[in-house]
Assembly symmetry: C2
Homo-oligomer: 292 residues x 2
């Protein structure tokens, strides 16, 4: 295929899918975009914004004649999407996804695509927001953000390059790692933080004095809990798909909390200060490396 995409199909036209399309359009890298989704109002929104040019009722029909397909549904819905695509997938078409877990998505894709698996290049943009839906999409969502590819042994260099080029055109920094490593890293730095944040809001919101508590909360609680405004179905699927790695991370985090709890129980101010100092230094070093 050429450097430009003639027919892009986006299955799941939410924040991620619609932003991909807007970014490619903004870069002049796509001719026509067909959107497939469950919610008519959201698809109408995507049409009105120019994120997609037309709506297809079914991914099966949309896939026909497509040269590039992005599956950007919640990971739990990807099996169905791959299954529909499979029947109409042209031999030169390239398929990628935007799922936050990779091993589960790859297994699903293998089952659905069969011999066509070489055409599927798994990917994950480290971008997003607690906003969801096409209405929140922007052409700049991926600018200077990381896009992780976890290529399969079956992928041709051309297929990988095609997906890489598309994401680079969106402004993303493309890196590669294996799917196992991806899932382990993301369990620690993304999936666990979502659980941490959801648990905090859930605990506070369930109390009789919740209104009183939230009335006196400031920017600290707001930041810690931003991730708790994330899409429940999407995060349910991610947690289930990356269950084992996430359980391991959760246990480590529970141990870290217990360590703080023990220091507090013993009124061990020196230990608390030691932990707080180490944490502050680590966070400051990280944000300094990433431009503050």
């Amino acid at each position: 295929m050429s450097a430009s995409i003639q027919k892009l199909v986006v299955v799941g036209v939410g924040l991620i899918g619609a932003s991909f399309s807007l970014a490619l359009k903004s870069a002049g890298r796509v001719r026509r975009v067909v959107g497939v989704g469950r919610t008519r109002a959201n698809l109408e929104q995507a049409l009105a914004m120019g994120a997609i040019d037309e709506v297809a009722e079914d991914a099966r029909l949309a896939a026909d004649g497509a040269d590039f397909i992005l599956v950007a549904t919640p990971v739990g819905a990807m099996g169905d999407a791959f299954g529909r695509i499979a029947t109409k997938l042209g031999e030169h078409a390239v398929v990628t996804d935007a799922g936050s877990t990779k091993q589960s998505v790859i297994a699903t894709a293998r089952a659905a695509l069969g011999a066509r698996i070489a055409q599927f290049v798994p990917g994950h943009p480290i971008a997003g927001s607690d906003e969801s839906g096409a209405a929140a999409a922007t052409a700049s969502l991926y600018r200077d953000r990381e896009l992780i590819l976890t290529p399969l042994p079956e992928n041709s260099p051309e297929a990988v390059a095609c997906v890489r080029t598309a994401w680079q055109a969106c402004g993303a920094r493309v890196t590669e790692m294996c799917a196992t490593e991806h899932d382990a890293v993301l369990a620690a730095v993304s999936h666990l933080p979502h659980l941490v944040s959801y648990a905090l809001v859930h605990e506070l919101a369930g109390r009789a004095d919740a209104a009183q508590l939230f009335a006196h909360a400031g920017s600290g609680l707001r930041d810690v809990t931003r991730l708790a405004a994330s899409h429940p179905e999407m995060w349910r699927d991610i947690c289930v798909a990356n269950r084992e790695a996430l359980l391991g991370e959760l246990r480590r985090y529970q141990d870290a909390l217990a360590q703080l709890g023990a220091a507090l129980e013993q009124t061990d101010g020196a230990e608390l200060e030691r932990i707080f100092t180490a944490a502050r230094a680590a966070r400051r070093a990280w944000t300094a490396r990433n431009g503050g």
Copy 2:
């Protein structure tokens, strides 16, 4: 005293103390500000910014002739500050503090001020940042933020009004509650979130693959961990001072995490989605009430 402060003493010229002074100066409500602190470089910075007009070597000397004294040190250092002030405190002077815990500060003030306790009106601005020191101070830090007063039975209405008026001049919304209630509420919505955030960074930073993990982290981890960049000594003191309430909050949070862990262990997607949905609704309702 008149509506304007003739001599303001700020003991602890950090983000909180220097911002108070800058706000009052900006409002034209203070004639002269004397700063007392431990770190010469920070005091020089406060002088250079115009947050203070002069430096006093000791709170004892500074208190002489002051009509308004703000103690804005870490709460663990307040006993010493009150003790120094006590010997030179004029009979019409008003003292307040900016400590994040109130019962411990009040006990400390009672011990140090003795019969002068009626002149101490305890307060806590719900404002701050992970930045610290005078360099981070701004005249607008308290604008539209809550300032909680926890007046003592001994306080005269005039003393309370004086402190209330000063904070209102800084742009703060002043509310009142009892110290016990303050400490319980803040343990839940501020002190616990700091532990949650410190524990997460500490856990990740202590691992052999920490560099790899942070390299692939995005804005989600950044938000959840912002509080972990907070001042270690200040937060050590707060945790110790509000130990009992905070231990209770930590246990509740550990239970909430365990509930998520159990759902994940059982691959109970419906339960995960139920909790995530409830949390998202609660957080969105809260931020909507507070202007998004």
